[in-house]
Symmetry: C2
Subunit: 473 residues, 2 copies
């Protein structure tokens, strides 16, 4: 075989060349099958029956394993013995022949020509070929990334990140890196982390106390008033001791902001964005999504396809409260049955509205002013603001957005009323200089990823989770 | 004109339709010129000579302004008077006719049909149509984004971010969000910010003291050992009180990591990445780059094109020291003339090597072990490590990378020697389970952006700079 070319190749490229079917890839494939391929990756399993052996090989670039075949008849003794010693978890390199197997589930296999263990694995390797609980996997966050579950999750995480950028760039939104260290607490929640230097004086370094940001919105508004359409996509923080499956103290947010856009424009962009991202991930991550559909939730793909293909619905907060009260009167049971206008919607109410009343993804609009942030635009009724929450079946709230208060006097009065003008004079001042109607929204990236994968604990969705649990990694 | 369609359009789309020249855009253009366009944006300037007026209009989606023409003859009196009142900084909307002007510098103008001020501008608008110093612009960070300089910088910032993602995705690197709150200080520098909750007890929330990360590398290595090729792209922090034009306390880093890659593979990827990103930005930001070339540095584009088209050079640290000593002996003057093997290269030395000795972008490799981080792979000489710094003319260091120490015993001994094993047991443990040769590097995103734009102060490169200056925004 000495006169053959050896092609160094990644598993993902191999799958693409074999499955794409375009003319160029057909030529590549012909070339590959006539020559040899060189692969580097890890052993997922290895079994031999004494004369023929099979390795499930994965180099991390594809979710699917590649089947490697070696045998005492076809291989030289040294190679055969080396292949037999390739244990689960070991890093190996292989030179082999690409053999197409269109009749099998796997479209090809690699027949070993030469193989070598590059880095062996200790006997106490915790990831054995058996079912591991997610709790166990969380305890080995540095190794769980090699499991099927994590592998599927983190590939979708990558894909969703690219879907976000793709959608906004295509629509001429400019990406902005808003600062994480800030002196304002935009939500007024007070649940922020402080940033200090070694001497623990919070004002020592930056001249005043600083915190980790809870939102990039205020900063990115200044950009929207210059570039029209902008978005942030970065980490945000909450020092909440909420020990739930959905809360993390560090998580990524997508925060677009648009000038010359009212609440309806805002809802159109939200709807297009969510539907685009779902479509992107379903196309880009077929293997991973099939895995979730099989192992996590059998309705997942059907549900996502429905959302991708459905026009979202609209209901006001006031109507939603009426619907819930009507339901209670007709005998529907809620854990929180004493809900009145002015109260927040609990998750059970949100799910009732989107699943039973509207039967699909639904925007709830115009919430009471008393329960919303200072920057939301006040409606003429004096009671509500021009905001929206997007509710989706089986999850509840996925996106929150609003028109921003663009009127200097109204915003100033509201900020004074709430006592958060100090330090935000610059934000108010934006209203003096050519500040048109503008709107924006926020998507919790990690929650969106939970929604797309059906994985119901944020600890399994983040690379190294930052929740209220003790930090080990 | 009532039977005409009014197309709502962004400036960037208008420029593209007019300048692209493809068949589809030609049809779009024909349609646009036969009908009316609707634009929303801001006034950059407005001058009228009593009967004809010209507005420089910008909606933020394109760096170039659009010329708007109104006149007392062509427009109804109300429209004409409204247009005259459109002051610099005001938000306006316009309906007008697209008129091609291929003979002029600007390929088209808009003749007003109807116009309206959407949000006026107060008289004390600080951004007047005159030269403002960068120092003044820094003092109005929320408004400077509307200046030409900031506009060019932040558009290139967006473009470079997309170039990074494009390069790594194309090469099958998976994007990973490594955590920012961490319990390890990977560089051992100690210049970290602590993260605390309101009670100021650093261990209260996460069970142990935590800091803001100085690098995502250690975490992303765990991912490289599962997915082969990965990268982070996110914020990192340094609590250094370095009041220079190049230091910030919060900045974005790109940190790729590759399994089965040695130092040479690493340098190949660095070279391909830098050259690709330069080419991408030169193509994607022609107007902005022309602006920098005219106003900041007349050699900028020529220099970048040279780097884009040149193979990078290589020299070892040991050879570099010899060259510098030879230069000193032959009369070249340095501020730091007493340099010996084992000393760090100062910026002046780096620039001498890349500009005078190698005459182009240069990798300096194999630095002394004593001056490098614990995770770099030790060479067989016992004195140096398998690392590299990429030096470029006129800037010095742009990228740093290394092969990582993959040998369990060697790494353990080094970590014990330096006293930083505690809390990083998981990192060491990665070496037990199929840990092949692997490498990675870090690019300071903000410094790369300074290099691409010629802008020499990081305070002008970041949306809301976080340096050792007091925080106002």
């Amino acid at each position: 075989m000495e006169d053959k070319t050896v092609y160094d190749i990644l598993a993902a490229d191999l799958f693409e060349v074999i499955e794409c079917g375009c003319e160029e890839h057909k030529n590549d494939l012909e070339d590959l099958t006539k020559n040899l391929v060189h692969l580097c990756g890890w052993v997922r399993s290895n079994r031999d029956n004494g004369s023929v052996g099979f390795i499930d090989f994965n180099d991390g670039t594809s979710f699917r394993n590649i089947q490697i075949v070696y045998s005492s008849e076809q291989n030289e003794e040294n190679t055969y013995l080396e292949c037999k010693k390739m244990h689960r978890g070991a890093a190996i390199e292989l030179v082999g022949r690409l053999v197409l197997t269109p009749e099998n589930k796997q479209p090809f296999e690699i027949h070993v020509y030469d193989g070598k263990i590059l880095a062996d694995v200790a006997d106490d390797y915790p990831l054995q070929k058996k079912f591991h609980t997610v709790e166990f996997l969380r305890s080995i966050a540095h190794l769980r990334v090699r499991s099927n579950l994590s592998s599927a999750i983190f590939k979708v995480r990558n894909s969703l990140s690219m879907a976000i950028h793709s959608f906004f760039q295509m629509n001429r939104f400019m990406y902005v890196h808003t600062p994480l260290i800030t002196c304002n607490d935009a939500e007024g929640a007070g649940e922020t982390f402080s940033v200090v230097t070694k001497d623990k004086d919070p004002a020592a370094f930056f001249g005043r106390p600083v915190v980790l940001t809870v939102t990039g919105q205020l900063h990115v508004e200044a950009f929207a008033l210059a570039y029209r359409n902008v978005y942030t996509f970065g980490p945000t923080f909450r020092a909440e001791h909420s020990n739930t499956v959905r809360h993390a103290s560090e998580f990524w947010m997508i925060e677009p902001e648009m000038s010359f856009a009212d609440l309806n424009d805002n809802m159109n962009v939200i709807e297009n964005c969510i539907r685009y991202c779902i479509g992107y991930v379903l196309d880009d991550c077929k293997d991973e999504m099939a895995f979730f559909n099989e192992h996590i939730d059998h309705d997942l793909i059907k549900r996502l396809e429905h959302v991708r293909d459905t026009n979202f619905k609209h209901i006001t907060y006031t109507e939603a409260i009426k619907e819930i009260k009507k339901a209670i009167a007709s005998g529907v049971k809620f854990d929180n049955p004493n809900i009145e206008w002015g109260d927040g919607l609990q998750s059970e109410h949100e799910r009732y509205i989107t699943e039973k009343v509207m039967k699909g993804p639904t925007f709830v609009t115009n919430y009471p002013k008393t329960m919303t942030a200072f920057y939301m635009r006040q409606n003429d009724d004096g009671k509500t603001v021009a905001n929206c929450d997007l509710l989706v079946p089986y999850v509840g709230e996925l996106v929150g957005g609003s028109q921003r208060e663009e009127r200097y006097d109204v915003l100033k009065a509201r900020m004074e009323e709430l006592g958060n003008l100090s330090g935000l004079e610059w934000y108010l001042e934006l209203r003096k200089y050519g500040c048109p109607v503008h709107s924006g929204f926020g998507i919790g990236f990690d929650r969106f990823l939970m929604y797309l994968t059906g994985v119901n604990n944020i600890r399994d969705i983040q690379p190294f989770p930052r929740t209220s649990d003790p930090i080990k990694y």
